[in-house]
Symmetry: C2
Subunit: 309 residues, 2 copies
């Protein structure tokens, strides 16, 4: 019996989530929830999947989904997930605002317990699978230093932050690793009429998102912007230290990926885990470090143990 | 309250396990179980830890341990673990004979359920943490090819297999990666009196452990052998494939380590997980892909979520 999934939001991650669900052998996408619904199933990115204006509408017309993937912006997660959880749906999101992580886990945990269901939050690659690697690296090498080096690639968070600043019509922010977990920011801006590059640079430099890193701001036209903004990204996660009393243990994870495609795939793998974990009698909010890795994979546990262990 | 641990066996892994327990903030090593016990706590490798001839002797004199780390050879695990599990101890082992994996998980699972306790098996780096990475890589990139490239380093399994062959007084087998998950074997042998390198090479080549890989056998003296046999090892784990319908996703894990030090550290991290999992009401045999990564780390779950996610 397939796991039934609804996709909430048809931005970048929502479109890739539809594709990831199409390739998952044990999942079925019932539909997309978005404000501008009923434009027909041939709308760009829908790939034949029907769209609906609300979860109630989707449930009434396409059936009740086991899981809702929350594919809107991070700040929409704590607004959207609790109501779905209280109605008993599992939710999966890729919430990534680090300072609010424990608060959001707490909020989702209460709602999930009320609805007797499971929320998996921060289910992207960072936070998400990188968090699993950081945990695993510490279990292997407890004494030492880890560095998470992002990029080169576009940071969605920094791009959104730059776009919201006065004088900026549009922007894309590229993260460039400097080593040792430090980064510089290269921000391409489309200036609003009357704004100067000098003033906009000062405004960006003063923003808490950018204040602590070396910054390079360049003005481009609206037409040029798409040519510097694509979905390529990566990370280099390093840990050097000691296992027990033995030093010189070197661990390194290096990844080069399409950013929203990976995020959406991880969310779909977590949809599977959420349904299984709930079926086994656990309720509440979990992050990827709380989940047995085998639960993320299709197929029988013992077959996966035989194949992967 | 510290987790109390007994170390069964004082070979390479046992010695490093004592060191890893010494550095674990939440564990206490009650003693070592070994056949030649009572040589005094100043014996090489004991680091002041008392040794005992049996688990009963250790329990009577040093207290009942929560967990027994089985640090003998792999083949001793299915002989030794079930009796300990039936007595209600948690066990952790680094069993690594791939063909017997599901059989051993089954045997340990029955015994653990009888004793209402938890066994964590295959808790080394391969099988073990590499298994977690293989599972995670598939959850991120479901369509594609993974390669596990071992080495350069000494394979304990191949060294033991070579040592057991006729004409071989002693041996050490080095694994050299050839790419694409393939390996060649470089075997240094100390010949028994009357044996020839030609005959011994043919015997090794015919052994199932060596039959499928390019082989290079070199004769050394008893005195020379220690100079080609050390504990350095490593792995390069690669996966290239697609997340959903998006190709060109590249993942890579590269590690350079002291082999028994890492194995022992992972076993100690699993001792902690075993006790927690049992306390939460689960019994049975688990592998590393069955364990939430956060359970491997000391400290409070939410503090680790806040720090690592």
């Amino acid at each position: 019996m397939a796991i039934t999934v609804a996709v909430a939001g048809l931005g970048n991650i929502g479109r890739y989530a539809i594709e990831a669900l199409e390739t998952a052998p044990d999942c079925r996408c019932l539909g997309v929830i978005r404000r501008k619904a009923s434009l027909g199933t041939d709308t760009l990115g829908l790939r034949g999947v029907p769209d609906f204006a609300s979860i109630d509408d989707l449930t009434a017309k396409a059936g009740r989904p086991d899981v809702v993937l929350i594919c809107g912006p991070s700040r929409s997660v704590p607004e959207m997930a609790p109501a779905l959880l209280r109605q008993g749906f599992c939710t999966v999101d890729s919430f990534d605002i680090h300072d609010r992580m424990t608060e959001v886990v707490g909020t989702l945990d209460s709602a999930a317990r009320e609805g007797q269901t499971v929320a998996i939050t921060a289910a992207g690659w960072d936070p998400g699978t990188d968090s699993v690697l950081r945990a695993l690296f510490e279990a292997m090498v407890p004494a030492g230093t880890s560095f998470t080096n992002f990029g080169r690639g576009r940071s969605m968070g920094h791009s959104v932050a730059a776009r919201a600043l006065p004088g900026v019509a549009d922007a894309t922010s590229i993260t460039i690793p400097l080593g040792g977990g430090r980064h510089s920011r290269l921000v391409y801006v489309v200036l609003e009429e009357g704004a100067t590059l000098e003033n906009v640079t000062a405004t960006i430099k003063a923003d808490p998102y950018f204040a602590h890193d070396p910054l390079d701001v360049r003005a481009v036209t609206k037409e040029q912007l798409p040519f510097v903004a694509d979905a390529s990204h990566g990370v280099l996660l390093e840990r050097v230290g000691a296992s027990g009393l033995t030093s010189n243990q070197h661990l390194q994870f290096d990844m080069r990926i399409n950013n929203p495609a990976l995020t959406a795939q991880i969310m779909v793998s977590c949809a599977r885990a959420a349904v299984r974990i709930r079926a086994a009698g656990t309720v509440g909010a979990l992050t990827l470090i709380d989940i047995p890795p085998v639960q993320l994979l299709p197929g029988d546990r013992m077959a996966n143990v035989a194949r992967l262990v």
